[in-house]
Symmetry: D2
Subunit: 254 residues, 4 copies
Amino acid sequence: MGKVCFVLGAGAGIGGHVAKRFASDGYHAVLCRRSDEAGLSALVGEIQEAGGQASGYLLNAAEADTIEARIASTERDIGPIDTVIYNLGAQIGDRALADTSYKAFEMGWRLATFGLFRVASAVLPAMVARGQGNLIVTSATAAVRGNSGQHSHAAAMGGRRMLCQTLNAEFASQGIHVAHVIIDGAVDAPDTLGKMLGPERFARLRETRGMEHDGLILPEKIAETYYHLAQQHRSAWTFELDMRAFTDRSWWNH
Amino acid sequence: MGKVCFVLGAGAGIGGHVAKRFASDGYHAVLCRRSDEAGLSALVGEIQEAGGQASGYLLNAAEADTIEARIASTERDIGPIDTVIYNLGAQIGDRALADTSYKAFEMGWRLATFGLFRVASAVLPAMVARGQGNLIVTSATAAVRGNSGQHSHAAAMGGRRMLCQTLNAEFASQGIHVAHVIIDGAVDAPDTLGKMLGPERFARLRETRGMEHDGLILPEKIAETYYHLAQQHRSAWTFELDMRAFTDRSWWNH
Amino acid sequence: MGKVCFVLGAGAGIGGHVAKRFASDGYHAVLCRRSDEAGLSALVGEIQEAGGQASGYLLNAAEADTIEARIASTERDIGPIDTVIYNLGAQIGDRALADTSYKAFEMGWRLATFGLFRVASAVLPAMVARGQGNLIVTSATAAVRGNSGQHSHAAAMGGRRMLCQTLNAEFASQGIHVAHVIIDGAVDAPDTLGKMLGPERFARLRETRGMEHDGLILPEKIAETYYHLAQQHRSAWTFELDMRAFTDRSWWNH
Amino acid sequence: MGKVCFVLGAGAGIGGHVAKRFASDGYHAVLCRRSDEAGLSALVGEIQEAGGQASGYLLNAAEADTIEARIASTERDIGPIDTVIYNLGAQIGDRALADTSYKAFEMGWRLATFGLFRVASAVLPAMVARGQGNLIVTSATAAVRGNSGQHSHAAAMGGRRMLCQTLNAEFASQGIHVAHVIIDGAVDAPDTLGKMLGPERFARLRETRGMEHDGLILPEKIAETYYHLAQQHRSAWTFELDMRAFTDRSWWNH
């Protein structure tokens, strides 16, 4: 059995492209996403047609035991998980405090913070037993600064970042590489940005800022860096890095 | 009716001393804590004997509607809340990931992050209507770095810090002063540190590091800075500051 | 002999107001500035008329031995320096890299970083011998993020912040309180902002954003917090805090 | 003419290995270092024997016009500089403030901060004219926290980090990729760590922590990440990342 790359949040953006990148180098890519069975099958099919190995599963990370069961069955039926890509987001757009329900606030935590804790609890014991493994976490600007209207998202992402640090502090010396990647800009992703903006605005944005102009982050380029992180030698591991398009301002600049 | 200072987490450490400090300058101090009715009565009594105004309530912040109801009744029966001190902690000591249950992880979030969101949702509309108010949040080193064994605490505090930033971003220009205070060291507090260590170890620690040696942070001195924050002119507000004993190393130093 | 508060950079903004604040509580204020003897005399006179003690000196901090000699003569002739306010700025406005000369870059460092190193080297041995002292350093947003056009200023302030941390790491346990204050907004100061904008634009800005609207930071309010820092008990010292007007965005927000 | 990778600080550690890595993929490596002509020749020879292109120069970065002249002659005689590796350090070991001379403090700035400013001023106009280029800067833990005894080093590195941010803010949108790499641990480098420790202690350290145990950062592994940074697509650039051995604690952890 070869190495497995387990992707939670495998849509048409970062998650799907990371799955393809790892599969292109021999990993068996396990793609999990909440909905859109057709989109999932298409991704799996693409990888297989290119000669790679992939499996796809629908999985609701907000429900109990879904993540845990899928990790267990992957380890049992497909192979030892070498790399987990935690790519679940919790961005719901800007909302004033008065428009942010308790439920929305809790859902942010459940997907962005607690879900990662569940993944770590489920997969790290096996990785530790094998003395190696990668846990690469997609994160966002909201993990390092709380902007107006981001109550749910920033609280969830701030928690996620600190959790990544505690996981790294406990597990790095046991051979587990935890990496926290701050995606500091809009990603050219139809499943997330596309849905938030709607098809017309998304198409316009891609034309004006994306593609030739490189003003949107291309997810296949992010995938190259995720792959690099997973290949770093353990004497020279990166815990945190940021990524943005060259035309974008860094989060700390005005 | 005078100004009200509403303290959530009013034990014998920071919370109680802050309540006393505000009461000594004419605020009506509302002290809320989960348990120890005798301790609560003693604090209230102390303030009243010194000529101040105080009310005390037992309140379980992990339960639904407890915080919201107490804020509403305070505004209705005691007076407009000028300052909220959010002083609920979620430190459970260092625990390996394997020893951190889902329940413990969730409880950290519920007390340290979600509770603050509930307070903000309940109290800020009234403060905004009055064009002023202070929300001073006790925080911890774990809000800025995740150490080994701090999975629950760091995730909760990291979320708290980002939430404070989002609240500040939305409400500062409406006259609300949000302050995030990083308590970066052990506080001379029998209710928290004392319970964690047990009476003997706590007594020994106080003798060797505390008192004359000032190696523990004295909560009455923290209270002076909280009071200063609440008095800062709105042209010169502080959002974040750190506090530690002069003998302690800053969190970023080795 | 009473306590001395030694202010380097004592113009009509932060420095002058801090000097007044300390003098109003019995400190002998020593005011040093590069130029404008009339302005300096006026400040000293104001303090003395209010019943306080003050001395004023012109001092070019870019020249060798000027700072060191003034500290030595102050200790010898006026009294032991309890508090140093390091208030020298190095803001020269936004300049593209091509418009930033080697000389301008070096001058930024000389005033904002090296000057502080010289002050620390000159004054800390005496403070350590007395077991106490405060070194309060005015800093700027540029100490924590480098914006376009701020090459000289940001490099100088970034160095200043790290220098403050090293001083704190070595001297806190010896009783010296080092504080790094991030002034994150425009200060209502005729000597600095006023000169940069010119009298007309400065007057307009004050009318639209300052005074009633509190959109400029009032230096006399900053002075209150500097004074509070100098009075903090050594069991509860603050190393870093930020300050801005309530209408201003924090540096990390967009 | 192929692409040129210009390495300032090309010793037997990071600089030399980065030069080799770029040369192995077709870059002409220009190696500059202050001293040890024999060591320099050996590095250049190694690259050439492996089929790569390399040139070596002795260069004292503390002297006027040395950097500028070498950049100009490289552009003129060897080819357009695609990537600059700024790898000059300024670590002089831990020294108390009293043992840190003005000269040592200034030298830290001159090598670690001002040198980078000179490089940027000299090379960026040509890169901007070509619409592309990489400026990869080796940095250190001291850029993000000032430890006791690091007065010169931390001030210099803190300035360097902010300068990198200002360069990025001005030049990213013009196609220049600035990257600030925080080397957060000891590097297995005879020229720097080896000299600081002496041959015996360095040999012992390598045996106990390095090699099989990966407790020292292997510079050839750092080189892989530098190379990856230079290859990142401009829609997905990283400005900052940290690196350390898996057995090392992150700078923010205790």
